[in-house]
Point group: C2
Chain length 122, copies 2
């Protein structure tokens, strides 16, 4: 079983966290060809946490996890914190493949989305 | 003259700020049909600031400015700080139209970009 885990920063505002949960639901509708499960987790301020989500997925039979950092910039959360969690969980769950994709801000399609947004507001 | 001003949070890391500057250059290449000028500004930690950018654009003949909040979540920067700056600048520069688009995280195409990123890493 293969899981895509969207990792967001997490906010003190439940509205922001709900946006991530809704986005994850959208992903489920589109990505079920590639992933058996699509979930989200948060680094701070919201539940579930990333480590906890990985543990739960593994206990439910997931053998491959791709962490996708939902961050615009590759700051310390992306460059240090998330790789550290992944490394710890790889040691803990031998045989489970845990990868990390590029962070969202590295997507080449962002410019087009921004112009679409700008055109809608003009 | 019409300007698109991409507004990012700004970071203590110059690498993150440089990502925004590069993204703005990409936008310039794609959006020059809609906007006479495309620039970026930062709310914190980096220059130029938003108020300063607006003042400069107006002094250079820009009559219409669209602020595009480059934020994933509609937190206080998007819902309070940026509208407050826009309101102050509207009072200061009578006759200049200053609008704010939806924040980037509200784009409907984000799910597809995330799956593209995930597929590339799989």
């Amino acid at each position: 079983m293969k899981q895509l885990l969207l990792v967001a920063h997490g906010s003190r505002s439940s509205v922001s966290n709900d946006e991530i949960i809704e986005l994850t639901a959208t992903l489920r509708g589109k990505g079920d060809f590639f992933f058996d499960r699509i979930d989200c987790a948060f680094l701070e301020f919201a539940e579930p946490g990333v480590a906890e989500s990985i543990d739960q997925a593994v206990s439910q039979g997931v053998q491959e996890i791709l962490l996708l950092p939902y961050f615009l910039a590759a700051g310390v959360h992306v460059s240090r914190d998330l790789p550290a969690i992944a490394a710890a969980k790889r040691s803990e769950h031998a045989g489970v493949k845990i990868g990390i994709s590029a962070h969202f801000g590295a997507s080449s399609g962002i410019g087009n989305l921004l112009l679409t947004l700008a055109a809608a507001a003009s």
